[in-house]
Symmetry: C2
């Protein structure tokens, strides 16, 4: 098996995770969560988004979160920014990195942000430009890269078109999102092969939801192609396991278990992440969605 020596894990629990939880988590708890994740060794953490609190009440107070975080050398805190107003707020709050996004599916783009893919990219171009000229780093997300909840299968070429546009805007990294979690190893691999024809593989990240329990298998198939950046959420945040199906991101601790077990370095302490997972899950009033966190709660067996 050809695998990378190191993987950078991008922790998205405080943003993509919490924004999909039914319970809104207050600012002080979110700050504590993020500091604990950084203490555990996570060096890339998405901490919130500057979308309207009317749309996403869970992300209200992102400016306060960002301001409260202690700066740490080598740790990047990013925020999702949908428009120029959001960029202004992010800059005012001292953001050093933002993320912009586009969907690979026309229907999803229209239903999610009420405009076409093309219109959304036109809207993001000045956001990225403004951020770059202010010295910020910009990361790009492509959602629905494999399947769309409204259209079904998405052609890899559709994801590639959006990825190329985001790259042309100056994004340093393109994160490919299996938003629905219906991906399979064969299709995930074909997607990465297609994207890698035009995007350098070291600038490709994977962002897979674990709705159907397939995320680790899909990630493994893509790691073998040389991808070395993976998004994940502590405790599998983002999918209340009973109310809406376990639709969250792949759990950071499950990902770490696979990576460390194969001798791949991440710089992250899995035991510390499990502690964080338990703490935030207690706050949400449920068990972590992660099997590693559950298993470590009841067994003495050392985690790889």
């Amino acid at each position: 098996m050809s695998l990378p020596d190191k993987v950078r894990v991008v922790e998205v629990g405080p943003r993509d995770g919490l924004q999909n939880e039914s319970v809104s988590v207050p600012v002080d708890v979110r700050v504590g969560l993020i500091e604990a994740l950084a203490d555990a060794g996570l060096s890339s953490i998405e901490v919130g988004s500057f979308v309207s609190p009317r749309w996403v009440p869970q992300m209200a107070g992102t400016a306060e979160v960002l301001s409260a975080l202690r700066p740490r050398p080598g740790v990047a805190y990013s925020v999702l920014v949908p428009n120029l107003k959001g960029l202004d707020e992010a800059l005012a709050a001292g953001a050093r990195e933002i993320a912009v996004f586009g969907a690979a599916s026309e229907s999803f783009s229209r239903r999610n942000i009420n405009c076409s893919i093309e219109e959304s990219l036109d809207r993001f171009a000045p956001v990225a430009e403004g951020a770059l000229s202010a010295g910020l780093k910009v990361r790009g997300y492509v959602s629905c890269v494999l399947d769309c909840p409204y259209e079904g299968p998405v052609a890899p070429e559709a994801a590639l078109r959006v990825a190329e546009r985001l790259l042309a805007m100056g994004c340093y990294e393109i994160s490919l999102g299996d938003t629905v979690g219906t991906g399979t190893p064969v299709r995930a691999r074909r997607l990465v092969e297609t994207i890698a024809e035009r995007v350098p593989v070291e600038r490709i990240a994977l962002h897979f939801h674990d709705t159907y329990g397939q995320a680790l298998a899909n990630l493994l198939a893509c790691l073998e192609l040389g991808v070395s950046v993976v998004d994940s959420a502590v405790a599998g945040l983002g999918g209340c396991p009973y109310a809406r199906g376990a639709a969250g991101n792949v759990a950071t601790e499950d990902l770490l278990s696979m990576l460390h077990g194969m001798g791949i370095e991440t710089g992250v302490d899995i035991g510390a992440v499990v502690e964080v997972a338990r703490a935030i899950s207690r706050h949400l009033g449920r068990e972590p969605a992660s099997k590693v966190s559950r298993a470590m709660a009841v067994t003495e067996v050392a985690v790889p």
Copy 2:
């Protein structure tokens, strides 16, 4: 990716699953479960074991289960048999297939069945011989093929020695058990490569527990080596997710989702398996451990 066209799924929920549940399930419910699994297209089902009910009360009544099952052409019902007394009972109940087992770890063998590996194999040899001479098929399990809960990592060669002995006894298939669920893709693959040096790959089956959420990734790595038989348990039976960690077998429906999503045929109807998973989980008073079953309960998205 080099993958098999077809995979035979061996359903072990009614035995390995239920024997590890804290609730004992009555005979009539077990018979209904097995019939429903066969209706769903599963052609190999392990239905119980002839161990002492003092040790494993959950498997009491296996003779009644076996007698109550309607014979179906093309469907094999097997029972675990630990000794000659168990073989007599299995024969009396009309068994057509049995399974015997050995551990790859000395400590596990001693703690689990109170004898050395060598002694256990000596004890199983006449069981297999008796079964074969009565015209039965015999399947062999090797447990703790990757890690032992008492000793830690297990050398692939230790698993190979037991596999070869079981093969020499006349087992038609050797099922390699990651009993602890701490395996990783790299180690699982190395194990299969070692076993395949002496055991034809078409006679190798995989039996991975999903304690740490790694089973599908580990299975994927081994399918690429040509293995085409996988054990699984409907609903991920065998690990109450809260009381003891989610320590069950990989869920049949999660496995089917991966296999079907890659175009691999199994002959099994995943929708029907999800129905069975929900029914038996209701009986046990909990949610299925399977993400596919949970997701299908709340979403309209088609499962691959």
